[in-house]
């Protein structure tokens, strides 16, 4: 295969060319069924003819919500032939998310399926039909594998006897709108074009030295760029075959690797970790594997080494992003061990990269900054979102990735984390990944993620979220000591929380936003009795300063002199009735907040303490049942907005008295001072 041959083409032309060249060679394999290149081409022709009947015009959107099925692949190619723009939507997205994406992209047709048993009760077809009533543009709902009076059947469309129209796509036409979350947490749809996707796939296949003998594992979701470009397209470009895996399970993956003699195995780090940890994993079962890409999330070097050694193949690391079709850099099969395990390699052919500082100035090699990409592979922009596009794409074509990276002097790129993920703790910058690496190297740790959470004193503190290996016992102290021996003192996590698993997006990246939010709301309970007065919280003898840091040292001093030494930042105070009685001193809630207490739960609060806490932003929850249902040392999670309190240790939940609407408004304004500012601005003092 010569990659250059695919540098200027489109997705329809790609299949046509390959069908001619590889004719009766197997292309797709699903369970017991196999489709050759020629059969695939013929089926796509029929499907195109069938879709043609729906009066779909070039440039119109076509949404697909399907798991990894051969029919998904056929549909991609048929849509390409008709010049449609496909909006793939991951089957694991929630109903609200799917409806939001449909409302935004206004597809004329939508293909989906129904399998509520496999998808936690979510019936995608019913959802689509329900959504249709509010989506005037959505004229056709096509169902796969199920007959429904209000839908068209995919099988019938694919059996159309009609003649397909002439190919309607041009090389530079948009083909995909792929959504991901921006910093605003609002999905943005990257618009990717035909030739860029094919060329990127061809260059990836070249780096992997793919041949028609290769068998790709169809495990990454076909609805994202990892499942599309390096999987479906790279396979097609190579004339190789693709064994689809409809629903990823580590056991199913291992079985398919063995039964289909997979040679190319792509995956996000989590997939490889799950397979290695699976009881049925054996090195011999992976004997057919030759290569594959690990990407989509940070690739821990230890995991990379294990995959190379225990799965026994030449693993490639790559860096990409949806907005770049996706591949930006890759390692090479003959890279040395350091480059191969600790970097994401060198740029793809004709893709430029640079690293810039916060002012936008280009930095020399070996300096940390934001990675930027320019080249054929960069998206056209975000779908109907000029503002978001302008935030990431400059007039010279540079795409800001939001990733913190170093281009090493000898070429390969190291990814350090997300811009903004760097935790700024009291003047020190901490890269979460370097801390995560240390934590993961502990023999009892299965997974680790480090997030920064706001703190009154340090600005931000580090919180380590840990998943222990099954059936091992480990206290926070043990791991913190371990970290203390290997990290600078300021980088040792301030808090350590244990989780059953870490929340991740489809690509495998840890949802740090979710984790940060969880970490902010979780802590251990410290119990106090009734009528804790403000003198016990902070004695007047300590009040000759307004310095919160100083006040924090004496938090709860006269109720428990050891309290500030025993508590961890993020812990909670749980008290009986009339908490905070006595003096009006605002330093009482202030010192509690400054000490790092995340919330106070009490049966009742004294009046002035209550308003002071609201005014300065210390979360307080009034809930007698919770106080009775929490023992000292229990792990508590709170949702301050809704007033829900979960006792994670005992598996119980409680509902605190909600804040009155008036106070909600003050809270929503970000505290009393902002509320006053708003009032002054409105000229309404």
């Amino acid at each position: 295969m010569r990659a250059e041959a695919f540098y200027d083409t489109n997705i329809h032309a790609l299949l046509a060319t390959q069908a001619e060249a590889f004719d009766d060679r197997p292309y797709l394999r699903q369970a017991d069924q196999t489709w050759t290149y020629a059969e695939t081409f013929a089926l796509v022709e029929r499907l195109s003819a069938g879709l043609q009947e729906l009066d779909l015009k070039p440039g119109e959107r076509f949404a697909v919500v399907l798991p990894n099925l051969a029919e998904f692949v056929f549909t991609y190619f048929a849509a390409a032939r008709l010049g449609l723009i496909v909006v793939p939507i991951n089957v694991r997205r929630t109903k609200e998310e799917v409806i939001g994406l449909l409302a935004k992209t206004k597809p004329k047709a939508m293909l989906t399926f129904s399998d509520p048993v496999a998808y936690r009760g979510m019936d995608h077809l019913s959802m689509a039909l329900e959504a249709r009533s509010n989506l005037p543009d959505l004229q056709h709902v096509i169902a796969l594998g199920i007959e429904h009076p209000d839908c068209l059947a995919w099988d019938q469309l694919a059996a159309s006897p009609g003649t397909p129209p002439p190919a309607r796509c041009k090389h530079e036409d948009p083909f995909l709108i792929l959504h991901n979350l921006g910093n605003s947490k609002k999905p943005r749809g990257a618009v990717l074009v035909h030739h860029a996707l094919v060329r990127n796939a061809a260059d990836i296949a070249a780096r992997l030295r793919c041949t028609p003998e290769d068998v790709f594992l169809g495990s990454p979701p076909f609805s994202n760029t990892f499942g599309f470009t390096p999987t479906i397209l790279s396979c097609t470009v190579s004339g190789a075959s693709l064994a689809v895996l409809p629903r990823y399970e580590p056991k199913a993956a291992l079985d398919l690797i063995e039964s289909a003699a997979i040679t190319v195995h792509h995956g996000v780090p989590t997939m490889f970790a799950l397979e290695l940890h699976h009881p049925e994993f054996r090195t011999e079962r992976c004997a057919s594997l030759r290569t594959g890409i690990m990407s989509g999330a940070f690739c821990p070097p230890k995991l990379v080494e294990r995959v190379r050694n225990e799965m026994g193949f030449n693993l490639i690391l790559a860096y990409g992003l949806t907005e770049a079709s996706p591949s930006v850099t890759m390692t090479r099969l003959d890279d040395g061990p350091i480059t191969a395990t600790q970097t994401v390699g060198t740029p793809m052919e004709d893709v430029e990269i640079k690293v810039i500082d916060t002012q936008g100035k280009t930095l020399p090699g070996d300096e940390e900054g934001e990675l930027c990409v320019r080249g054929y592979n960069v998206m056209q922009g975000y779908w109907e979102d000029e503002q978001s596009t302008a935030q990431v794409l400059d007039s010279e074509g540079w795409l800001r990735t939001g990733d913190l990276a170093v281009i090493t002097a000898d070429g390969p790129v190291r990814i350090l984390g997300r811009i903004g993920e760097t935790i700024k703790r009291g003047g020190f910058g901490i890269h979460p990944r370097s801390v995560e690496m240390v934590l993961r190297s502990h023999p009892k740790v299965r997974d680790a993620a480090v997030v920064g959470i706001p703190d009154m004193i340090y600005g931000q503190i580090t919180c380590a979220c840990i998943v222990r290996k099954p059936d091992v016992h480990m206290e926070a102290k043990e791991l913190l000591e371990f970290a203390g021996e290997r990290l600078a003192d300021y980088a040792v996590p301030d808090r350590l929380l244990f989780f059953e698993s870490l929340p991740r997006v489809g690509s495998g990246a840890v949802r740090k936003d979710v984790l940060r939010d969880l970490a902010r709301r979780r802590g251990l309970a410290w119990k106090f009795g009734k009528n804790i007065d403000t003198d016990s919280i902070i004695p007047a003898r300590r009040c000759n300063t307004a310095d919160a840091n100083e006040l924090a040292k004496y938090c709860m001093e006269d109720a428990d002199p050891e309290f500030v030494h025993k508590m961890q930042r993020g812990d909670l105070i749980v008290a009986e009735t009339n908490f905070g009685c006595g003096s009006s001193r605002e330093v009482a809630p202030l010192c509690i907040k400054a000490a790092g207490i995340s919330a106070v739960i009490a049966k009742s609060f004294a009046r002035i303490f209550f308003r002071n806490a609201i005014n300065i932003g210390l979360p307080i929850l009034e809930c007698p049942q919770a106080v009775d249902g929490i023992e000292a040392g229990d792990e508590i999670e709170i949702e301050a907005a809704s007033g829900t309190i979960h006792n994670l240790t005992r598996g119980t939940s409680f509902q605190a008295t909600p804040y009155p609407e008036f106070l909600q408004r003050i809270i929503e304004h970000g505290g009393l001072l902002h509320y006053v500012e708003q009032r002054l601005k409105e000229g309404n003092p």
Partner: protein, 419 residues
Amino acid sequence: MGHTLAEKILAAKCGREQVSPGEFINAKVDLVLASELSGVLAIDAFEQIEGSKVFDPQKIVLVMDHFTPNKDIKSAEIVKRCREFARQCGIQLYDIGRAGIMHILLPERGLVSPGDLIAGADSHTCTYGFIGAFGTGIGSTDAAAAMALGELWLKVPESIRLEYQGELQPWVCGKDIILHTIGRIGVDGARYQAIEMSGPAMPHLSMADRFTMANMAIEAGAKTALIPADEKTQAYVQERQGRPGIRMTPDPDAEYTQSHVFDISSMEPCVAVPFLPENVEPAAKLGDVEIDQVVIGMCTNGNLEDMRAAAEVLEGHSIHPRVRTIIIPGSQKVYLDSLREGLIEIFVQAGCAVSTPTCGPCLGGHMGVLAARERCVSTSNRNFRGRMGHPESEVYLANPYVAAASAILGRIGLPSEVV
């Protein structure tokens, strides 16, 4: 349906016919008040508000009374900051030598009047209820907001009616009435609520007794305490050349969440033992509680009447050798009046130290901080753990007669034992 005094004042302050308990309102304040401790934080907060300027410099008062005369460098810096802010904004700041403890000072200067809404960044702002003003304690951020807007957000409180009947026995005063009251309803018995004090005994109670009663309403958790203004109130205000204010009375059919009736004739001198003001015991029944210090005065019992009470017991006596006694008149005027009446001489002759007005020892700041395991009888309002110094020290709250008698006896005792 009728309205309580609290509801009437708040309705007037938000320009409405009526308000009901539970409603949130923005009410116009007649005065914003802060000490140096709460003031410095309020100033910090105020300066954070973009485009802030004080709504009316005439209606903001800063009183330097907690850690003054400056007890240390940090306190000096705090007071300095308040002083600079006041000068810059044209706000009245009461400083050492020309001031006093805020709650004694403000009524004395005619700065609070019946029917006013006073927002004070000090919990004992409820004191002003003694002349029928709605005084309520707030935090520093609240004070900053009030300085900028001239308004305070409030939840209209439910009211509790406390009815006092009968006549006081000798050596019993307002302090005993309020301690008995807190002893009955508890330190959170009036949490979030307004206390309305009335009944046939009220006309006979002096303004100083009423002062002490309203002052300690916060010790039952109350948002405010209100004693409807009467002829005595009017005369008191006139004498001090204050604004006449608006005399309001609760409606006969006003709704109260609780009503309590107290027969003050049956009350005897009492003491609140550590560590809560609700732990009220008759002074006579305490047995032999040896003491190390006595403090008489401060805001709760710092009026001239209180000085007279102490002097009445101390005259011609010497303080017990083991005991230190500190007398703190509530203001420069109380100090001067005491001097003129010869009370100061009595105190000094008895072996007391007489201090300039300050909150100092009440909150363990200075001027009489306790060591571990020391015990003090104080006419102040709080006996929390560590309140007057070391966390292992103890404070017993009492009226000025009992405090003075205890100073002489070296243990908690009754005035009848020495006079």
